[in-house]
Each structure stands twice: as C-alpha cells, then as structure tokens.
Symmetry: C2
Subunit: 420 residues, 2 copies
Amino acid sequence: MRKKFILEESDVPKMWYNIKADLAKSPDPLLNPSNNEPLKPEEMEALFAKELVRQEFSNDRWHEIPDEVLELYKMYRPTPLVRAYSLERELDTPAKIFFKNESVSPVGSHKLNTAIAQAYYNKQEGIKRITTETGAGQWGSAMSIACSHFGLELDVFMVRQSYDAKPYRKILMNSYGASVHSSPSQITDYGRGLCASSPEERGSLGIAISEAVEMAVKNSNTRYTLGSVLDHVLLHQSIIGLEAEKQMEMAGERPDKIIACFGGGSNFAGIAFPFIRHNIRAIAAEPAACPKLTKGEYRYDFGDSAGLTPLIPMFTLGHDFSPEQIHAAGLRYHGGGRLVSHLKREGFIDSVAIEQSEAFSAGLLFARSEGIIPAPESNHAIAAVVREALKAKESGKSEVILFNLSGHGLLDLSAYKEYL
Amino acid sequence: MRKKFILEESDVPKMWYNIKADLAKSPDPLLNPSNNEPLKPEEMEALFAKELVRQEFSNDRWHEIPDEVLELYKMYRPTPLVRAYSLERELDTPAKIFFKNESVSPVGSHKLNTAIAQAYYNKQEGIKRITTETGAGQWGSAMSIACSHFGLELDVFMVRQSYDAKPYRKILMNSYGASVHSSPSQITDYGRGLCASSPEERGSLGIAISEAVEMAVKNSNTRYTLGSVLDHVLLHQSIIGLEAEKQMEMAGERPDKIIACFGGGSNFAGIAFPFIRHNIRAIAAEPAACPKLTKGEYRYDFGDSAGLTPLIPMFTLGHDFSPEQIHAAGLRYHGGGRLVSHLKREGFIDSVAIEQSEAFSAGLLFARSEGIIPAPESNHAIAAVVREALKAKESGKSEVILFNLSGHGLLDLSAYKEYL
C-alpha cells in the first residue's frame, strides 16, 4: 500500500492561484479609515512592497512565481501528500483520510511559502529592513529564514505570552539573525503606551501588528510584512493546494471535503482555494476560544488593535477582542480576513469551533498513529477530521477527506505536557 | 538546478546491508567477561530478541527487511538527498556537497531506522516490555514511537544531564506513552548505589546502559535495546547509505568522501558502510571532548559503566571515562564499537576531532545557507565537511562530498542560545 505521494521538484507549480478571478460576486473592498473610501493601491505602498500591493489588488487568475522563489521553495518543496492509513484504522472509519504535510519545512510549518515571496519582493525593491509580528512563532521563524537568505534586517514583535512560554522559538529566530521584541514593547509609541496603562498586558496579535506597522511607517527603507489574512498572503499559500491537487490525482482520488485549521486563513486558504474552484467544500476548524467565522459578525473592522490598518470587511469578534490564552497561539486572531469571510458568506465554506481538549486529544491520537506530533493549531484540523470520519462511520459512507497538517509541534511540547 | 533527489516509496531498499560479508579479515569477537571466551549467541538472548542476536552474529551480506518494518519506514522514508548549493556558494568551494537528510523523520533523526526494526522483532517474539537508555534523547524518542506502534511498554533511562537540560525530549517520549527515568535513578540497584556514593553524578550513557540492562535482566518478558554500537544496529542503519547510493546515481555523481558525526557509530556506519564496499573513504567526525577513534586505545572494554555487557574489541577511552558536558550528548560515548573500530584499524576510515565551537560555527553557517538547524551532533559532520571543502578550494580540486545530516536541532535550541 502506497502511503506517500511525492512530486518531482520539476512538478512544483510555477504559478500561484488567485481565487478572486473565479468569484461570481466580488468581495467588498478594503476601506481607508480616514475617509471610508475604497483603499487605493498607492495608499498601501508605505506599508508593503509595491509588487505585494499589486498582487493584493489583482484579479488575475494566475501569478507567476519568480525563479528565485521557486529555487528557495526547493529547501522543502514539494511537500508530501500522505494517506493516513493508521489513523483510519484507529478510527475504524470507511473514510479515506489524506493529509498534506507542510510540517516538513525547516521552520516546521507552511509559513515559509509566503515568507520567501515577501522577502524576495522587498529585496527586489531595495528595502533594507522588515518588521512583522508573530504569535506562536511560526511566522516569525519563517520570516527569519527568508530575510537571512536575502540579507534583509528583521524586527519581530512577538506576543508577550508566547515570548515567555516559547523561548525556543525566540532562539530559532535569533539563530537566523532576527531581532525579537516582546510585545507590547518599549520601542514603539503604541507599545510604551500600553505598557504604561496596562503593565500586566500579555499581548495579542492585534497589538503586535500595531507595533510592527508603527515601526515600518516611521522608518525609511522599512516595510511591514504580514503572515496571514491579506489576499496576497493567501495567494502565495495556494502552492499547498495546487501541489495537493496533482498529488490527489496521483492517488487516484477526488476529495469530498477539505479541512484546515483557521487563524487568519493562510493555511486554510492555501489548501482549500484551489479545490473550491472545483466545487469541493471546505471546513475551517476554529478554536472555540476565538470563533470568528462561527460566531463573529460580518462587518468592517481593523486588522490590528490600535486601528492603524485599513478597514477589512470580514467576520470579526472585534479588533479589541481578547481571546483566552489557548496553546494554539496562531489561531488567536480576531478576524477572518476579507476573502475567506466572503466565501463563507457565499456558502462555499463551513466552519466548526473546537474546544482545546478535543483538539489535543485528536492530536495525540494522530501522533500515536501517524508518528508526527502536530502543532497545537493543526490539532484543530485533526479534531474536525476525526468528527467527519466518525460521521462517515455512522452513516457507512465512504468519503475522501483531505486536510492540511500546517505544522509540527516539536517546539510546542510544553503545551502537550500540560495536556498530558 | 535540481536540488533534491527523491526516490519513490517503491525504490526504498528491501534489504539491509551487512559489511561483514565483504571484509577480508574478520573483526575480533565479542567476549564473555566471565571466562574471556568468545560470546555465544545464546548468551545474548537474555538481553536481546533472538532475531537481533542472529543478526548480530550473521555474516550474510543481505538481510531482508520485514514488510511491517518497510510499511512503518514509509512514515518518513525515503529521505531526500540534497545538493547543498547555498553552502557551496558560502564556502566558495569547487567541491560538490551533498547531504542525506535524515532529519525529516518524526523524531528528527535517523534513530527510527533501527528502533522500528528492534521493536518489531521483540513484538514478534512475544516480549511485552522494552528498556533502553538515551543521551540526547533522539534514541529514546525513536523507541517511544516504535514501541507505541507495536503496543510495547517502554522504560527509558535518560542521562540526568540531558533529562534536566532537555525537558521537551522527555515530554515527547511521554506523549508516545513511554516512562522516562533520570539516570542514575532510584529504580535499579546500580542507580541507587551511584546516587548514594555520588549524589552529584550527572549521568553518562555508560551508566544509563547499565541501568537499562539491569532492569531487562531482572524482569520477565523484558528485553533491552541499544541505539548504536552493536552490529545489528549498524545493519539496520545501512538503509541510509543504500538509499543514498541510488540517489547519487540519480544525481550522476560518485562521492569521493563520506562524512558523518561519530558517537557509537549508528549514523556513521549507516551512510558509510554501503559506500566503503565500493572503496570510497569515510571520515568519522568526533567531538574533541570524546575522541575515541582519534585518540583512544584499541583493546577489549565493556560497553557500559557497571561492566554488565560483553567485552567489545574497540577503540576506547575506558568504560569509566567521563567526557565533559558538551551539547552533543549523543556523541559522549566512550567506545567506537567493534565494526567501526575494525575498519579504522584496517585503514578504511579516517577520523577527525572537532571542538564544540567549530562545530556550532559550521552548524550556524549551514542553518543560514540551507535553512535547516542541525542537531549539535550533526554539526560535527558539517564542520568536517567545511574543512574538506576549504581544502578543495585551496588545492583547486573539484571533489564530491557526501555527508549525513543525522538530525535537526529544533529540540536543542538551548545549546544554540549558549553558543550565540
């Protein structure tokens, strides 16, 4: 029985896929909060590299991946598609379960797919220094490798809760030459203000974004990068689903359902969007502690705490929402982003909210059957897969489930310790 | 430029390679310490599964890999062979550098190659419980996954120094259901005695082996397993070199030199032995703190501290040698093992002793160029590669170097922190 389906390097897709080209109805535009008018591309260019802004606003279906980016993708791409026979056996389900293993990258997650691209375009445009935020540390680690490769300086604002709980992530970023700041920090106005007014503040992604944006705007030759939420980030992540599409063909199966965990949408959109264009349904697995798609309100909201970003039309729990401190720090973001929220409203996407204990229980089952310790974020996807596989067993229906293993949990073992 | 050379699952070798079949001169035998007579297979069977003893004494060139083992190998095998273009560029060397990436396994090292086989044979023979030792934690983690899969209980004696310094490794083993004891422990006679006489003892592989052996001998349905040194362990690891042989053919290159770090010999022999049979030279990279091949004496010595094992003919620093506490805990073993020591004497193998600072400096260079943070053990191999590549640059000679990246360092980041 074949277990892994592996592409040749030469079969790695040469283009990213933009789902906006295939939408019957366009998503609502981003707004400039100063005048509530649709945001113009040039208004974003103080913050992001020009080519990234162009991609953000583009409706072209396909975007060519630069050779230099493809070359760096070879560090870890193509990633394997795996048939989870042992998990199927454990669950005694007629469902066929496949997963795309994005944990094989050097930082242990899918985040490099867009980090490499973002660092590349900034370098091309003569930018010297990058700022960004990180929650769990996966995104900051990815930007560290990418910036190290292209010779860019990097300042990472790391949510204080994670900064304290995950010292290994900080060392990993330092090893690649990045500067890492506990957020809220003393090096931005917004951070200093918060530290003064709320000395006990443990930080949030929204706060860290505000700090990184402030630093980018106030310094010359400096741009901000974001690891999720925005259209250009989701575009780069489409490489996951495009590879998986070819691999499912190798396996001779068509998925009935795509499942991924959901924080800001980057791994979810990455695996799901290329399949949604073939009318395959996708399920976003959110943490019960931060269920924006499942329980949030669709409206315009800021992407950060301080209100420095454009207004984004999305399902949101409010940009001042402070979710409890779950281990899946990468899923603690208040909003669903423009594209995923639009697709949810249009009925292409379902969402489920998963309690932390259910997520870890599923993650350990996966680890013991398939060998790999998943990231706490990915555990939410696995829990949703387990639910679907057990439903299939009940109804006696053989169906094909594909999920994204967004990352491994080797740097999150303290979370497992608490669960055990 | 193609970077990775990846086999199909169906091309994973179906047999392990035993270099003893190709030796003009036989290595000296193991001795029974009670009478100094050559050890008989049946005398080992109280300690090891029978099939493993049969393999230990076998001179057959090829040993069939059981289907169940091949099936589990698919968790992570075949592993990639990678051309290290970026490292070559950094070193500005005419040498072509390839590495076999064994870090992609779920525990992050090559140790699963033999853990799966050893757990399988024990299960086949009706054994219920396994004991073993672990230094850095790589081997204990590998046995934990393997035992979890086959439903075997597992007791791991973890060198106290590592137990305290690497809490994540312990959690990883616990996640797979293993019991982990800080060694010296209170649960064996030998451990209790040591704790009483030397309360400050930080442990060693030799001590941990003594404890694991004692527990195996004193309990029914219990066997001991070892992660390195012995012939049957090296046999299982030959899968590394056999895969690499096919992959070097894909790359159209023949290696001039094979390099691997050297602790007890498992990753070194794994990559080197299949190439030594084609008269390709190998270099063992030892830590300067524990240079048994480079500075040890060839004689009979015990494999453990307490003198519970058979006598092994090998290069040794003495079974009571206590190396300083370097980060590469997996290389802190006093002896070179029978087969590697024999090949060193016969002139097939060179060795070099590498200082810790040189190892970490090479490891960081590798991380920043190739993306992957190597295990502290693997850093020694990389340092030896850097030396050879710079020699090639000096002499203007284009040569092909193949090394084994035995593991990644994501669970060893505290070691990097100290170095940084």
